[in-house]
Symmetry: C2
Amino acid sequence: MARDDRGVTPQSEDFSAWYNELVTKAQLVDRGPAKGTMVIRPYAYRLWELLQAELDGRIKATGHENAYFPLLIPESYLRREAEHVEGFAPELAVVTHAGGKELEEPLVVRPTSETIIGEMMSKWISSHRDLPLLLNQWANVVRWELRPRMFLRTTEFLWQEGHTAHRDEADAMAETMLALDMYVEVARDICAIPVVAGEKTPGERFAGARSTFTIEGMMRDGKALQAGTSHYLGTNFATAFDIRYTSDQGRQELCHTTSWGMTTRMIGAVIMAHGDDKGLVLPPNVAPYQVVIVPIGRGEPGEATAGAARDLAATLRAAGVRTHVDLRPQLSPGFKFNDWELRGVPVRLELGPRDLAAGTALMSLRLGDEGKQPLPLATAAEALPGVLAGFQEFLLRRATEFREGRTTTVDDWPAFTAAVTTGWALAFHCGDGRCEDEIKAETAATPRCIPLDGPPAEGHCVKCGSPSAYGKRVIFARAY
Amino acid sequence: MARDDRGVTPQSEDFSAWYNELVTKAQLVDRGPAKGTMVIRPYAYRLWELLQAELDGRIKATGHENAYFPLLIPESYLRREAEHVEGFAPELAVVTHAGGKELEEPLVVRPTSETIIGEMMSKWISSHRDLPLLLNQWANVVRWELRPRMFLRTTEFLWQEGHTAHRDEADAMAETMLALDMYVEVARDICAIPVVAGEKTPGERFAGARSTFTIEGMMRDGKALQAGTSHYLGTNFATAFDIRYTSDQGRQELCHTTSWGMTTRMIGAVIMAHGDDKGLVLPPNVAPYQVVIVPIGRGEPGEATAGAARDLAATLRAAGVRTHVDLRPQLSPGFKFNDWELRGVPVRLELGPRDLAAGTALMSLRLGDEGKQPLPLATAAEALPGVLAGFQEFLLRRATEFREGRTTTVDDWPAFTAAVTTGWALAFHCGDGRCEDEIKAETAATPRCIPLDGPPAEGHCVKCGSPSAYGKRVIFARAY
């Protein structure tokens, strides 16, 4: 494959083309045959596994248990919660035939599992001693997608969905926020994305929720991406599915439930929050390979460097560093360097005969001004974990500065429209859904969230001038 | 809940009732609303996770990479391989409507993924340098089930499916056997089930395979359970999906492919290979809790034992022992003992005020003649890993002796029919499919496998007297 064939359109020229070319050329994903479906290739799937392990560990450490609920849900279940079915009906895939016969009642392929898990909760909960019930599921879901985009909006995606039941609103709200905190932590500490946590405005709530919380990350084109949501469902699903418990005073009470999810969309967030014109830039904590070693030389010197590369890789792996040796004989070192830049590996080590003689490797980071630096082989295993941690920190700092630099506090309409062209606007809003719609129609910007840590403030709606709602400024942005 | 309500029908009375009651009462599973579907509850799902981790580690260590392929497959894909579609057509669930419209081409919910992965392999493979391509997927599949049985035959189940492509038959056959070896190892070393590995007779092959290999375990009613299969697919799918490579001589060649899978059925195998009239008996290597501590006493002494139990649990967990403390205030110690016996926890530690004063806990194993023995608290963390390893070995030994005791070498029809009533028959068979059918009609026994390690031998078919096929004896048994 020629070099040109592997390059991608620069971000500044066409961010969307950059993304679409990159996810294919970096071998992250392929189109599936059914509309909007994707094949997650090994490199991207490994990233997902690393993310999963981090999130799953946090989910278990906070007392949740994993379980698995059926993919196929009777259509009637969804209808029991009016808002829920209204929100999901247009996106459903429906099984009408099975085992060679037409089904008496069609089954939907789960778009989310509140209904079927609600049905089970009503069987499993009887006493206040059964609460809280803290469940989580790792699964695939299907939502028919008319404008698919790999990882970001696909007809089928992978996710975890937490579903919990509680005795009262306070306990359920605490759970909703605990889940949100896990998402903030995973986004920030693992994916190096400094997300903003906040509440959705009523128009952006999950179908059937009393309140929806979100984490929003800024991509390198200034757009926002919703990277995880946590919902307080009130007693809506408990009413629809009869999820009740006997209180310690012997009364029958409705449970308060929550649900929360993070998806393979997060892979898209990592790509767009860090990538550049050379390709992916992967945070070490989710990089399938943290270090790639490229041995250099042909013939006998090449065998020596290849052998030394293998030894070094074994030492690094023993030190917990995910290391890959690129031994492809048919490719030049230059091609390999470009290839691993495209695929976003944080650290590259070149190992030529002269390096080997000097007892060093030439180290390059995927980003930064350091250039190539000699790394002594004898102490590489001690040095690299620190280098990787530094690179992880650097990415988070860079992303934080980028987000801050592109977030503007605005109080008038021209400033608002300018701000959402390149980034986020912090603005007062009246809280009226029709006003939100007008803003969207004119600028493509939507209210991303009412930030939890936004200082209390009052003012006039940036669009219509009415008194502000929410007691603080709202983040508006164009979004994925 | 009263004691009687939690007991199960004795195995000797009705093995099937024992199983059905146990999977529900031990809170492993619940029925889903759609026919034949199941909810995998946390206790069983944790067992699955432990099994997954063991198998996934082996899959990765042998060079396979995980990926994810779409759930929904165009119906036309399945038709490209004639035997494949014939085998699976009666079991398909079909999506005909999505996004509010009727689809132009129906999509099937994957019953297995040879077709969609074959389509992708043809895109990804061009040169001999791309081979072998070693892929694995953890996923859910749907096969419409008319006679469902929890874990054993369910409309939806979870599994891993390995899919690999190779340059020739020898390489693909080596892969087929490598996968089978992993299954033997996981069954034996993790699940304590001494499975027999062998080849299926032509009538029992996977739809579209050139040869199918299986591991078969004996359950405690003497029946066989197929616990994993590995298929050499020849060039059947490579032909149907045009999976070709350019050889080092520059010729276009068809790939030889394999596929292999292990499923949540394995949970059923663990239950039926080890369980008894008191309930589950879990091998420590897949037990969600390896040790349960039941503190005893009310009031102040109860608080002291509960505190000591928590401390002991922390020490044991730090030593890598999966430990649970049963602090449910409303339940008596006797109820708890029965409950954890029902749920198959290998080791129970009782901790009463007198034990605490003596610096010991009373240890009981789930099986065995040792009765209750004092275990010094100070050295419990050192002692228990050995106790658990011993229990794991004991279960494997017991199961091996059971299988050997119930496997009979038979050379005439009366001995055959007697043997398959209580266990397995090792018999000569002519290899004729119609003769297999007659045996099944008369005895419900089927050829389970031609054991790989069976000694070469010739004779006359136990049913029809014709000369034997396969060059060795075949295992016949009734099966799940």
